[in-house]
Amino acid sequence: MMSGAFPSRSRPHNHPSALEPYGGAGTGIGGVIRDTLGTGLGARPVLNTDVFCFAPLDISPVQLPPGTLAPSRLLAGVVAGVRDYGNRMGIPTANGAILFHPGYVGNPLVFAGSVGVIRRRHVDKEVLPEDRIVAIGGRTGRDGIHGATFSSRELSEESETVSGGAVQIGNPIEEKKVLDALLRARDEGLYRSVTDCGAGGFSSAVGEMGAQTGAVVHLDRAPLKYPGLTATEIWISEAQERMVLAVPPERLERLFAILEEEEVEGCDLGTFASDGMLRLHHEGELVGELACSFLHDGRPKTTHRATRPVRPSIVLPDESISPFELLPTLLAHGSIASKERVIRQYDHEVQGQLVLRPLAGADLDAPMDGCALDPTGDQSHTAVISCGITPLVGEIDPWQMGAWSVDEALRNAIASGGTLDRVALLDNFAWGDVRNPANLGALIECSRGAAAAALACGAPFVSGKDSLHNTYRSGGVARSIPGTLLISALSVAPGRPRAPGSDLKRVGTALLHVGPAPSGIGGSHAEWIMGGSGGTVPEWQPDLAARLLRFVEARIADGTVLAVHDISDGGLAVAAAEMAFGGDGVGLALDLSALAGEASDATPASLLFGEGPHRFLVEIDRHSVERFSAGAADVPITEIGECIARDQFVIRTNGEEWIRSTVPDLKRVWCGAFAAVWPEES
């Protein structure tokens, strides 16, 4: 029996991707995989995730600030970078999102995540005096000098000229060899500690590992890509695919034998000391000497000012756009449209462990709520990974964005077969310049909202990484991105997978709306498309969140639920359409009269397209409607329709027909959004 832990990391790699999308995205993935390899004594990476934010693809070239790449080029480059790194490493990329908003025009966001599996006995690590400092993997070069500094500075039209050398150059096969060699050495107990060379290169890896002991480093022993590097360049280079190990001297020989067979270069850089001093030598000269305590505790604390966010004034949307027109417009919106053209380029089957894919349903092209895998390969556990990201609402109410994002990630995890009994969260804040008190205030409010939702659901935050300098300066004007919070959820459920899938199963079944009736369209895609902003935001409810998730989890577990989908981007009408896309000809007829009666000030737009927390759309057999609702204390459940034959898609309210279409017509629109970037082959 395996006892295991599931480390998971996610981090933004925005600035390199803005300059060089292919290399930036590839090394973003490579770096976060090394985080997994450097967790404990090394975890085996089993999954990559990717979330991107770009400006809309149809942005006119004159709107592009000088020095920025067109979003279509960024998208194609970033996808190719993730594809070529992840596929070559043999790690499935199977969860993510792509969002489009004009606010990301000078500063796109690229979040790369990695999930790994580790045995409990490999969790603890230590460094002892006299351990050798062994660097393995790629050679050291001038690429990635000051990469960390570059990432913490605002982008500008000069960035490419000034900081082009800060982007690292990736080599996935080098990292795969490091992975193979490292895990063999781990299983033979050949080292006591390991850290990856990420930001800061050797300086941060050795500095971190030697925090308690001190270290003596001979920089001239590091293998170089080419001669001529100064001691400083060797010490801070962020060249890729390097790990640093603490190796007991008597195990060096065996370690180097494994490295040789796996064709991985290794070098003995020096020794961990016992006097707490960090000493750097280069060609016989002492070039650096500092107390480790100064490096770790010597930094003065800084104080920043924050102001409470002000709610923007309301701009009323143009409600003359009919629901009939709005639904296809939403389905074709890049943030909602099918990502199949991207997903198919990622090898999401490699390792043979996936049990819920990003696309499933009758034609294997309908969107699921998350992904799930069998992490130990013995059907004993199902690990579910999902995400939540809601930047539109953050522009109105950052606190609600924090809560919404946690709620969305958890709803997706539950719909994918996860359990609230064992779920953990990761947070990635990507924010504008936080020296601006308004930006910092919004960040604080957002983190408070996320904390409230996590506490209410008993879901701990276990990891995360932030990027707090996403500002682009051009023509003397600095522009910050919309504050963006990505929440990832990771749940480990016992046994084989339980996800019913979002795809409709058969004609004659009942469709239930689970959750509060929609109130308002503030923060929704529909509000944005209709030219409105600042509208009423459906609020996250502390007393409902966990109860509702547990209820849906129980109904999935007992087999009552035939299909389930969270109602999020695009609202109820989009969720219904997405469920029909996987249904093999099953259509649906919804009547929202009852729902309209529950909501205060319901409008066609809020009922059909309103977004917000706590909502699912569920398909169940007609004879189990009573059983489903039994014990649903204080969980709002409304029967809103049924599955019908021949691909018909009808939504009416109080006798008025709001939408009549067919599933293939809607699906065609939903599938076409990225045809210009990746043309269909004939």
Binding site: R88, G90, E349, G352, L364, Q379, D503
Partner: protein
């Protein structure tokens, strides 16, 4: 007849090198099929080629060996050619089983072991011009082999950028020898069009065998379909109580069947 009581399970060697990345699921498939499995790095096997002779089966798994730099599978094919050619040819002549999956198929074709002699076939870039991961329907060829029964349908994933089978016969318009067809892609049309034929392969060929039938190469990955919930739409075959389907509930055989049949043929 061998005594089942005394005989150890047949040994399968899984060959690994820099950039191999489907070795773990290939090991799992062979173990589930009943084999003993050793995963061996090509550098170790080149140093101890006698370890190959101890085995009854060799699997060359998928991946991007040496980054597919130069060309897909070219570097590992060269290493095998220079260091392991003779023991491998003896292995095949003895009627032992060899399977090359995806990158392994590309390597067997480069070595001229498949389909039959050097320079007769190649695996070219997909017609779509990009890497594609999707599930495909397959139908096995007209001749039964240790790997599959004739004319049987399978459902398995492909994931590659260079899987378009091309055939260079001596004369023009010579069809591929039908008894060496292992698998063809299947679609609603005949011949199947994209995406049923995901890469534009000649005669929709997804896999081939050598003339003797003991060496199989294929682009799809049957080792990624070992349990019912590996089926991408298993939720549509759930049992009434909501539990995942068992093997008999699925409309298609597991990919594992190919490994089971091969290992059973060695017993």
């Amino acid at each position: 007849m061998k005594s089942a009581m005394n005989s150890r399970p047949p040994l399968a060697v899984v060959l690994r090198s820099a950039g191999t990345n489907c070795d773990r699921e290939t090991v799992r498939a062979l173990e589930l099929a009943g084999a003993r499995v050793e995963s061996i790095h090509v550098n170790r096997l080149a140093a101890e080629p006698e370890r190959l002779a101890e085995a009854a089966m060799l699997a060359i798994p998928g991946g991007f060996t040496f980054g597919d730099d130069v060309a897909s599978g070219a570097v590992l094919a060269h290493i095998i050619d220079r260091k392991l050619r003779a023991p491998l040819e003896r292995f095949i002549a003895d009627g032992k089983l060899v399977i090359g999956i995806c990158n392994g198929f590309q390597i067997l074709v480069r070595l001229g072991i498949l389909p039959d002699g050097p320079g007769r076939a190649a695996l070219l870039p997909n017609h779509s011009g990009r890497f594609e991961d999707r599930w495909v329907r397959l139908r096995s060829g007209p001749r039964p082999t240790p790997w599959f029964d004739a004319e049987t349908e399978y459902f398995v994933p492909v994931a590659h950028a260079e899987g378009r089978f091309a055939w260079f016969p001596e004369g023009e318009d010579v069809p591929f020898p039908s008894d060496q067809v292992a698998f063809r892609y299947q679609g609603d049309d005949d011949p199947p069009r994209y995406p049923a034929n995901p890469n534009g392969s000649f005669e929709a060929i997804a896999g081939v065998t050598n003339p003797a039938g003991n060496v199989l190469g294929l682009m799809p990955h049957p080792e990624r379909f070992l349990v019912p919930e590996h089926h991408p739409a298993w939720m549509r075959y759930r049992r009434a109580d909501g539990s995942p389907p068992e093997e008999s509930d699925l409309p298609v055989p597991l990919g594992l069947e190919i490994y089971r049949r091969a290992v059973a043929s060695l017993g």
